[in-house]
Amino acid sequence: MEATGDPHVFLPLSPSAFYIMLVLAAEERHGYSIAKEVEEATNGTVRLGPGTLYRVIKQMVTDGWIIEVDRVDSGDPRRRYYRLTSWGRRIARAEASRMADAVRTAMDRRLLSASTFA
């Protein structure tokens, strides 16, 4: 399903959805490794339980933001791999730029300094 339109109507995304999209933006992943990657990238502050993870995945598949790919895992055949669709990528990009705007504003108001990114 290839959806089109204004991605901004879906913003802001839920943190779980955004983190999943961030992981999938790099490469195809299976569910469990998405959760692991999110946990590592956030130093353990964000944990996606299996229920939340697959509920969000199910919803994103239904909405056409990600798709299940036909790929068999060599280690465990039960695993399924997911990939960001181009529609999903546009939504993730819109969310990232919304956040970037917020960061810029925060820096203007001196809530953040450039050293934060160092």
Binding site: H30, G31, Y32, G49, P50, G51, I57, R78, R79, R80
Partner: protein, 856 residues
């Protein structure tokens, strides 16, 4: 931990489990934390509730496109569930809920014996309950009599009802005082005049003054000291077994003299010790009765004590009437379910195509089934809500009818149990109405459905199912209409029973107690009665007036033994008759004919020889083969009037004191020779409006007895209505329910025939194109209806016969298998079935062949 993950996964909808279960299982091979299990469980619940919300929203969206369908179904459910909730609420309050007493199952009514086929409850002497204290099964015994009259408190007279009780009464029922105390045995000692009053009297006549304890009031002229105020909201038991609460209670003595054994006017109640059985107590009471028969052969020869649970005595036939009505409303709900089942089936079968397509697109048949059931559930829920509102309105409107017809009627309202019942009914109707059509959709075979729907044929499986439901509807409706028809016939018979008195132009007053009952001499009573009678006679338009100690179909029946002078009777077979004290015009007012001798006249006074008049039933039963005039019978004084051998001077026609029983032997004595303390007035004023004459009669009472509250006035029709309130209640209710059942069944027939005609329009078109005539098409449609109806009638007759047999005892003189009722109802059902299918049948003839074939 892995097991926990699998268990938590079970909470999620099957679709989610099927798709993601394996992956979640795989990730559970790694590290799993407790928080993961919680997360999984919460997700499962969230997905499920989202599904339900989605299905309900979907159901609402779909239903909003079919307002006519929704209105019909909701109305059907509302009628069915509403009738159920209303009747259940009454059944629950009157029959199912325990009586409002402490451990009500241990309370029993004491009967004195059996006379004329009926148990006699208010014929105990003061000695009897005291003798019964030797029976170990009794924890406590009491006896009581209705009393009442005029209370004079703080210079204001007002009418009161009261009970004279042996003080164990309060322990037996668990009645307590909020102020002061309840009565104690010492309150019945000679010279002690103590009473307790109700909370209601305390508030309305003593301004809820707490210093009322110790105050003295005058009760029918006698000073009485108030020793307690009873807690509010405690029902009482009176001698008739009703739960009316009383204004005051006075104590009967706890000692009985030999003379007291002869005074039999009390009703008795007792509390059994835990574990005592009715049967073994009755056996023990039989021994006691035998002993008393030996000890006091003259007085107690007819004693056969027995007990019955107070609940049985209180409810009487009300319980069976309510169960019959309840069965009727359950029948109506089943008819409603069948109707809605057919409507849903028709609606869903036109959606076969949509459902088949959705199923082909991957929706599981389980999901589709759930969605359809939820659609039915939404309809049932709205219907149940409307039904509860209907029930509330109906109970409100029927409150007056209920109050006359049923004990405990004031406790009837829609409560938590009613709402629970409504929810249960909504749930059951969802399953019943939804499941049947669902079964026929269980195997949507894509190909055949797409083909059949495209051509508009009536799939025969669907048709069979719908016809079966209509057959059941007709059967149930027929049974209900038969039962209600039998009830109506029996009721019409009952109210048209000749009472032996004029049906029109007579007004009767309720009983009034003359003031100063205990101080007044008989001469004073007679003077008061003469004054009252003169005032009544002088009212404009009154052709005749009379006073009586008991009015026709009234609440009081005084019966006594009236042996004939010079005869001896075997023990227990003395003449037993109603004894009434009346003024001379009693017979003229009521239109009772004089058959022999004379009626009373002004020559019959306190000083002249005692005289009596007997009715025909008395003469036939006890004075057979002789001229009654001149015979002397024993007139036992009651209400402080003298006992005397009275010479019979006349024989009059019979009147009934119970509409459902044949006239009882009765004798009359002149009021002037036995002026009773209780008086009712009767006038014959055929040319005056009943309301006007009733008002003037109240004026006469107020003039003659200024300290007494004037009684209510009744026409004979009102007396009959009061007397037959329970039968009237059952008749109105069953007739209403039968009408609802009939309308539902007919709309069921109409719906099915209409649907079938629409589905077969192509067939009709083709047939008419090939030369079939209009009458032939109509006949074809009607033939199908008649076959269905005949099947329904056959089954219905069986149900009706069973139901009629079950209620035979309620039908009086009408046979439960009354051929006329059965015949008329069967005819009615056939005619209405034909009428209901006539319109759709005629529509079938208007199918244009070209139209029908266009879609081919």
């Amino acid at each position: 931990m892995k097991t926990l993950v699998r268990l938590a996964l079970l909470l999620a909808p099957r679709e989610f489990r099927d798709h993601y279960g394996a992956q979640i299982d795989a990730s559970a091979d790694g590290d799993v934390r407790a928080s993961d299990v919680v997360d999984l469980a919460l997700t499962g619940l969230r997905l499920r509730s989202e599904d339900i919300v989605r299905d309900v929203t979907y159901a609402f969206r779909r239903l909003s496109k079919a307002p006519l369908f929704v209105s019909i179904v909701v109305l059907t459910f509302a009628l069915g569930i509403g009738a159920n909730v209303a009747v259940f609420s009454v059944l629950n309050a009157v029959v199912l809920k325990p009586l409002p007493f402490k451990n009500p199952n241990g309370i029993v009514v004491i009967f004195d014996g059996v006379r004329g086929g009926a148990k006699v409850a208010d014929n105990l002497s003061l000695a009897d309950p005291l003798d019964m204290r030797s029976v170990p099964a009794f924890a406590a015994t009491t006896a009581l009599a209705s009393d009442g009259g005029t209370m004079l408190a703080r210079n204001t007279p007002f009418a009161v009802s009261g009970l004279d009780v042996i003080p164990d009464y309060f322990n037996i029922l668990g009645i307590t005082a909020e102020l002061g105390r309840v009565l104690a045995p010492a309150d019945g000692d000679p010279g002690v005049h103590n009473i307790v009053i109700s909370d209601e009297v305390w508030r309305s006549h003593f301004n809820a003054d707490p210093s009322v304890i110790g105050d003295t009031v005058r009760l029918n002229g006698v000073p009485q000291r108030i020793v307690g105020v009873l807690r509010a909201g405690q029902p009482a038991l009176d001698p008739t077994g009703s739960l009316r609460s009383q204004d005051y209670y006075a104590a009967l003595p706890e000692r009985a003299t030999f003379a007291d054994r002869e005074e039999r006017y009390l009703a008795g109640f007792a509390r059994l010790v835990p574990g005592a059985s009715i049967a073994s107590t009755n056996a023990r009471l039989a021994l006691l009765s035998a002993r008393l028969q030996k000890l006091y052969p003259k007085i107690d020869h007819d004693r056969v004590f027995s007990i019955v649970p107070v609940r049985d005595e209180l409810l009487g036939s009300a319980a069976s009437v309510l169960w019959i009505v309840f069965a009727a409303v359950v029948g109506i709900l089943l008819i409603a379910c069948a109707n809605v089942g057919n409507l849903l089936g028709a609606r869903w079968s036109t959606r076969d195509r949509e459902l088949a397509v959705r199923s082909a697109l991957g929706a599981s048949s389980r999901r589709i089934g759930t969605q359809l059931l939820i659609e039915a559930g939404v309809l049932a829920t709205i219907g149940a809500a409307a039904g509860v509102a209907l029930a509330y309105g109906a109970l409100h409107a029927l409150a007056g009818l209920l109050a006359n017809a049923l004990p405990r009627a004031s406790t009837v309202h829609i409560d938590g149990a009613s709402l629970l019942y409504a929810i249960g009914a909504a749930f059951a109707t969802t399953l019943l109405a939804g499941a049947t059509p669902l079964l026929s959709l269980a195997r949507p075979d894509l190909q055949s459905v797409l083909k059949a729907a495209g051509r508009g044929g009536d799939a025969s499986a669907h048709h069979r199912l719908r016809s079966t439901l209509v057959v059941l509807e007709i059967a149930l409706a027929l049974a209900l209409v038969v039962v209600s028809g039998l009830t109506v016939r029996s009721f019409v018979n009952l109210i048209n029973t000749p009472l032996g008195i004029r049906p029109n132009g007579v007004i009767a007053s309720g009983l009034t107690m003359l003031p100063e009952k205990n101080l007044g001499t008989l001469a004073a009573r007679a003077a008061m009665q003469r004054d009252l009678l003169a005032r009544l006679q002088s009212l404009p338009g009154v052709r005749a007036a009379a006073l009586t100690a008991q009015y026709p179909l009234g609440p009081m029946t005084n019966r006594s033994n009236a042996p004939v002078f010079g005869r001896t009777y075997p023990i227990g077979s003395e003449p037993h008759a109603t004894a009434n004290n009346v003024t001379s015009d009693y017979f003229r007012v009521l239109g009772i004919s004089l058959l022999r001798g004379r009626v009373f006249d002004s020559g019959d006074t306190m000083g002249s020889a005692p005289v009596a008049i007997v009715n025909e039933a008395f003469a036939q039963r006890y004075l057979q083969g002789m001229n009654p005039v001149g015979v002397r019978i024993l007139s036992q004084g009651w209400n402080d009037t003298p006992t005397a051998w009275a010479t019979i001077v006349g024989v009059v026609g019979d009147e009934r004191d119970n509409i459902a029983r044949p006239p009882f032997p009765e004798f009359f004595v002149p009021m002037a020779q036995g002026p009773t303390a209780y008086t009712s007035a009767l006038v014959y004023a055929p040319d005056i409006d009943a309301a006007v004459i009733a008002r003037e009669m109240k004026g006469a009472f107020a003039g003659a007895l200024p300290t007494v509250q004037p009684p209510d006035m009744y026409t004979v029709a009102q007396l009959v209505a009061n007397h037959t309130a329970q039968e009237r209640f059952a008749t109105i209710l069953l007739t209403t329910l039968a009408c609802i059942a009939l309308v539902l069944a007919l709309s069921g027939i109409f719906g099915v025939v209409s649907f079938s005609v629409t589905q077969r329009s192509r067939e009709f078109g083709v047939r008419m194109a090939l030369g079939a005539t209009e009458p032939a098409v109509v006949a074809d449609v009607l033939r199908r209806t008649l076959v269905t109806t005949a099947a329904g009638v056959a089954i219905g007759l069986i149900i009706a016969a069973l139901a009629a047999h079950a209620i035979a005892s309620q039908l009086g003189s009408v046979s439960p298998f009354d051929p006329m009722t059965f015949g008329i109802v069967v005819l009615l059902i056939f005619c209405s079935a034909v009428l209901a299918s006539l319109y759709p049948a005629l529509r079938a003839t208007r199918v244009q062949p070209v139209e029908a074939l266009r879609y081919e």
